[in-house]
C-alpha cells in the first residue's frame, strides 16, 4: 500500500514538543560577542555625527558606524529599470530613510550590556520632510533620493491608458481598494551568528528560508569565494516570505571577520516590527466592463505600489499582481499598469502570497461591484465568466499560462459545503427582522501561481551502508514538515520504511545546491527532484543486483513491501537494501547508489473557492467571523495532514488581513504598530475553526501531480471575508469597507453611508 496520500504524523515534532528545537539563538557559540543595532528613531533625517564615547566607556564595548563598513550598497536587485542609485547602504552614512534603519552597531559581552551601550550612542540628526504612502510620494515634493530626481522606482505594464478600452461594454464600473501593509511576524524573530574558523572559512548560522542563496549573497557582499562561506539554517521558527539575508545578517558576518571573534544577534520583536521587511502595501484601481448579461469584455487594473525606503522585491511584486489580474476568469481583454514608489517606511518585500493576494483582492472586488450593478448574485456572475474546465492549458489575456483547473467545480463544492442557499435564506430573515446583528456572506474564487519564476531544485539520494537512505534537498523547511513529506516521497520510491530515510537540508556544506523555500514551490520542484533521484537510485540498484545475481537488469524488480530486489518470479533470490548496500560497500560500489537530480518545471496554478459568513453589529460596528469554508485545490496531496495545516495557517493570515492587521505610520513616519501590543496579530479567541474541503486536480507539470499549498488559503480568504462584511452592510447603503474591516473602518463606512 502506498504511503503517499496518508495523514502521516510528522517525524520532526519530537524535538519541538520537548523544547529541543535548534533555533539559532539556542546555539552555544562560546565566547561570542553580542551585536546590538542602534536604529534611527526618525523616518527621514541627515546624520551629522555620531558620538559613541559614552557607550565605549563601558567595559568591553565597541561601537562601529557606517564609515567603518567597506561593503557596497545592498541592492537594488537586478530587476529591469531599477536605478542603482536607490541601493540600500548596509549601514547609514549620511541619510536615514525610515524608522529602524541602522546607524551604528554595538559589540558587547552579553545582551544586557549591549542594550545599555546602545542607549548611550548619541546620534546628531537634522530632520528632513517625510513622505508616507505612494500617492503622496508620486508628487515628488519630498524626494528620498534627490540625485535620482524622483520617487518612482519601477513601472510596469501598459505605458498609457487605451481610452477606447471599454467601448464595446454596456456596463462599466470601477473602484479602488487598498491592500494594506502587513508585517510577517514569524514567531521566532530573526537571529544570526557567525564565526571564522581556523581554516579561514566563514560559518554563518541564519534564521532564513534560503541558505544557499544567502551563501551567494554573503560571498558577493564580503568579496569571498562562495566555497569559503558555510551557511547553516538550523530550525527556523517561521518565515512567511520575510526571512532571507538582509543588512543585519551581512553585518553579523562582516563583524565576525572584522573582530576575529564569533558574534551573534537576535532581534527583539519591537526591532523586528520596524526592521524586518513588510508585505503588501498596494493601492489597486480596477475598471470592469461587461454586457448586460454580465459577460465581461474588458478589465483594467492600475497598481500603485509602496516599496518602502529602498526598492527590493517590493518593486517586482506588482508584475506578479499584473500577471494574475485575470483571476479565474476568461476576460478577453486586460490592461494592467503599475507604478512603484519609495517612501519613508520599512522596505516592502514578500509576505505570504506576495503580489497574488493583491491581484485576487482587486479582481474579486471588481466582480462583486459589477454583480451589484447588474443585480446579479455574485456566484452567478462568476459562473458566467469562469475559464471552463475543458479549456486547459489556458493562457489569460494577462499572460498567465494556467496548467489545470476546475474553477466552477471549486465554487460548486464551496457553496454546497457552506449551504449557500440556506445562508441566503437566513440572511433574508435577519434583514426582515431588522435587528442590530446582520449576516453577511462573501464568496471568492481564486487562482494563484506557485514556483512563479520556474526555478530548479536540487535533490540527492544516497543509500547508506546499512541499507537506509539519506535524502538531501535544496528546499528548506521552516515549519512546512519536509522532514516527513519528503521522506514519504523517497520511502515510496525506494520501498523503505519512513524511519530509514534521513532528510538533510539547510546546510550548504551538506547539500550541494538549493534555492530554499518561498513562493509555495518546495513540493513541486524539491519534492519532484527527490522523487526522480529516488527512482534513479532504484534503477542503479536493479543494475547492481543484476550484476550480483548474474541476471539481466531488465528482469530485476523492486518489491516495495520487502524493500528487496530479485529477478521477477524468483523472490527466493532477493537481496534486501541492507544486503545490497553491505555488498556494494564491500566492493567499493556504494557510490553507484547515490544520485543527484535537479528538477525544474514551469509555474503551476493552484486554485479554489472560499465562502465567508460574518455577523456585523450595526450599532457597535463589531464584526465576528462565523464561518470560513475553504476549497483549496493544490493538485495531488502527499500528506493531507500537513497540507491542511498549511491551509489553516494561510486562511488565518488572509482572514486577518481582511479583519485585523495593518502596519500604520503617522504623518512623521513614526510606526504606530511597532510591538505586538499595537499590531493586531489575532489570537485563537479572534478566529473560528476552519471548514476545509478537499479537492484534487493534479498538474501535468511534475511527476507528483502536486502544486503549491502554502499561500492558497491566504489568497482565497481575504476577499471572501471583506466581501461578507460589505454584504452585511449593503442594506444600509454601504458599498465598500476598507481593510482591515475592523470596528473603526466599519463605523466609518456606516457613517459615510448615513451622510450620503
Amino acid at each position: 500500500m502506498s504511503i503517499l496520500g496518508n495523514r502521516v504524523l510528522r517525524t520532526e515534532d519530537g524535538r519541538f514538543l520537548r523544547g529541543a528545537g535548534q533555533y539559532v539563538e539556542n546555539l552555544p557559540l562560546d565566547g561570542a560577542l553580542t551585536v546590538t543595532f542602534v536604529r534611527s528613531p526618525l523616518a527621514h533625517a541627515r546624520v551629522n555625527g555620531i558620538d559613541a564615547s559614552a557607550a565605549e566607556a563601558l567595559p568591553n564595548v565597541q561601537v562601529l558606524t557606517g564609515a567603518d563598513v567597506d561593503m557596497p550598497p545592498f541592492g537594488p536587485p537586478p530587476f529591469p529599470g531599477l536605478d542603482a542609485a536607490m541601493g540600500r547602504p548596509v549601514m547609514v552614512t549620511d541619510t536615514v530613510r525610515f524608522v529602524g534603519e541602522i546607524v551604528a552597531v554595538v559589540l558587547s559581552e552579553g545582551r544586557a550590556a549591549g542594550a545599555d551601550a546602545a542607549e548611550l550612542v548619541a546620534v546628531d540628526y537634522d530632520p528632513l520632510p517625510v513622505v508616507i504612502g505612494p500617492s503622496r510620494a508620486a508628487k515628488d515634493e519630498v524626494l528620498l533620493f534627490p540625485n535620482v530626481g524622483t520617487n518612482l522606482a519601477a513601472v510596469g505594464g501598459a505605458p498609457e491608458r487605451d481610452e477606447t478600452f471599454f467601448d464595446g461594454c454596456d456596463v462599466v464600473v470601477s473602484g479602488t481598494i487598498t491592500s494594506q501593509r502587513m508585517a510577517a511576524c514569524p514567531l521566532e524573530p530573526r537571529s544570526a551568528a557567525a564565526e571564522v574558523g581556523a581554516d579561514g572559512r566563514l560559518t554563518a548560522w541564519l534564521s532564513t528560508q534560503t541558505p544557499h542563496q544567502d551563501r551567494a549573497v554573503l560571498a558577493g557582499m564580503l568579496g569571498l569565494d562562495p566555497a569559503d562561506v558555510h551557511v547553516i539554517a538550523p530550525d527556523v521558527g517561521g518565515g512567511f516570505g520575510s526571512k532571507m539575508v538582509s543588512v543585519e545578517e551581512l553585518l553579523v558576518a562582516w563583524l565576525a571577520r572584522r573582530t576575529g571573534r564569533p558574534v551573534r544577534w537576535t532581534e527583539t520583536r519591537s526591532e523586528s516590527m520596524v526592521a524586518l521587511n513588510h508585505g503588501r502595501g498596494q493601492e489597486l484601481t480596477f475598471t470592469i466592463g461587461s454586457d448586460r448579461e454580465g459577460k465581461v469584455g474588458a478589465f483594467r487594473l492600475e497598481i500603485l505600489a509602496d516599496v518602502g525606503a529602498y526598492p527590493g522585491l517590493g518593486a517586482f511584486l506588482p508584475n506578479l499582481t499584473g500577471l494574475m489580474s485575470s483571476g479565474v476568469y476568461a476576460f478577453p481583454a486586460i490592461e494592467t499598469s503599475s507604478r512603484a514608489y519609495v517612501t519613508n517606511t520599512t522596505p516592502i518585500a514578500a509576505f505570504r502570497g506576495a503580489g497574488r493576494p493583491e491581484a485576487t483582492q482587486a479582481v474579486e472586488r471588481a466582480m462583486d461591484v459589477l454583480a451589484a450593478e447588474l443585480q446579479l448574485d455574485p456566484a452567478e456572475l462568476r459562473r458566467r465568466n469562469f475559464i471552463p474546465r475543458d479549456a486547459f492549458p489556458y493562457t489569460t489575456a494577462s499572460h498567465g499560462a494556467y496548467d489545470s483547473g476546475d474553477y466552477e467545480g471549486a465554487l460548486d463544492l464551496a457553496l454546497r459545503s457552506a449551504d449557500y442557499d440556506d445562508l441566503r435564506a437566513q440572511q433574508r430573515s435577519r434583514r426582515e427582522e431588522g435587528g442590530p446583528k446582520q449576516l453577511g456572506i462573501g464568496i471568492s474564487t481564486y487562482v494563484e501561481i506557485t514556483n512563479g519564476i520556474a526555478e530548479k531544485e536540487f535533490g540527492e539520494v544516497e543509500i547508506t551502508p546499512d541499507g537506509g537512505a539519506i535524502l538531501r534537498t535544496g528546499s528548506f523547511s521552516h515549519g512546512q514538515g519536509h522532514e516527513t513529506t519528503f521522506a514519504m516521497i523517497a520511502a515510496e520510491q525506494l520501498g523503505l520504511p519512513l524511519e530509514k530515510i534521513t532528510v538533510v537540508k539547510g546546510d550548504t556544506d551538506l547539500v550541494a545546491a538549493g534555492t530554499g523555500t518561498y513562493g509555495s514551490k518546495s513540493l513541486q520542484i524539491g519534492g519532484s527532484a527527490a522523487r526522480l533521484a529516488s527512482e534513479e537510485v532504484v534503477e542503479h540498484a536493479r543494475q547492481l543486483t543484476a550484476d550480483y545475481l548474474e541476471a539481466a537488469a531488465s528482469d530485476i524488480v523492486l518489491d516495495p513491501a520487502l524493500g528487496a530486489f530479485y529477478p521477477a518470479g524468483s523472490p527466493a533470490q532477493a537481496l534486501t537494501w541492507a544486503e545490497l548496500a553491505a555488498r556494494a560497500a564491500e566492493d567499493g560500489k556504494l557510490d553507484e547508489l547515490k544520485v543527484v537530480h535537479e528538477f525544474t518545471a514551469p509555474p503551476s496554478f493552484p486554485f479554489g473557492a472560499h465562502v465567508a459568513v460574518v455577523e456585523v453589529d450595526v450599532e457597535t460596528a463589531q464584526v465576528e467571523l462565523l464561518r470560513l469554508v475553504a476549497v483549496d485545490d493544490a493538485g495531488t496531496l502527499i500528506n493531507p495532514l500537513v497540507a491542511e495545516g498549511q491551509v489553516h495557517g494561510g486562511v488565518a493570515t488572509g482572514v486577518s488581513q481582511a479583519l485585523y492587521e495593518q502596519v500604520a505610520y503617522d504623518e512623521d513616519g513614526t510606526p504606530l504598530t511597532s510591538t505586538f501590543l499595537g499590531y493586531a496579530f489575532p489570537s485563537a479567541a479572534d478566529l473560528p475553526s476552519w471548514e476545509v474541503v478537499e479537492m484534487v486536480t493534479p498538474t501535468p507539470l511534475n511527476p507528483l501531480g502536486a502544486k503549491g499549498i502554502g499561500e492558497s488559503g491566504t489568497i482565497g480568504s481575504t476577499p471572501a471575508v471583506q466581501s461578507a462584511v460589505i454584504d452585511a452592510l449593503a442594506p444600509f447603503g454601504v458599498r465598500h469597507v476598507e481593510m482591515p474591516a475592523n470596528g473603526e473602518n466599519v463605523f466609518r463606512a456606516l457613517q459615510e453611508a448615513k451622510e450620503a
Binding site: D13, L17, R18, F240, R269, G479, H648, F681, A684, A685
Partner: protein, 154 residues
Amino acid sequence: MTRISLTVNGESHEAEVEPRTLLVYFLREQLGLKGTNVGCDTSSCGACTVLVDGESVKSCNQLAVQADGCEVTTIEGLAGGGGLHPVQQAFHEKHALQCGYCTPGFVMASVSLLTENPNPSEEEIRQALEGNLCRCTGYHNIVEAVQAAARAGA
C-alpha cells in the same frame, strides 16, 4: 547581584542573579534550559510560558528574583523520562505545531488550562489561550489538540 533559590523541573538551584534579570533569561542563559522561547518584548505572545507553582506565567514578564522560593516547570520538565506528556502527545497527533517556536508556550498554557478546567468547551479553550500567539497553524489544530488532551484526561 541577588541570591535566589528555587526548584526548576524538580531540581533545586541556588544562583546569583542581576536583579533586572527576567525569569526567561535566567532559565535560558543561567540554567541552559533553551526550550522556553522569547517571541516578543511586550508579554503578548506567550512563547515563554512556564509554570510557576503550577500556574502558567509568562516568564518574560516576571523577574528571576520573583521566582525565589518557587517551583518552576519548563517544557523540558513536563514529561518524565523520554516520553511525552498527554498534551504534548495530543499536539503531535493533531498536527498542532509547524515551526515549533510557539509550541512550548502553548503546551504549558494548555497544561495550566486543563488543570483549572479539565473539560473546556471550544470557546473556553480559545479564550484561555488568548495570550499565546501562533503564525503557522491558524489555531485550529491547537484547539483540537487541547480537546483531545482533555478527552485523554490530561
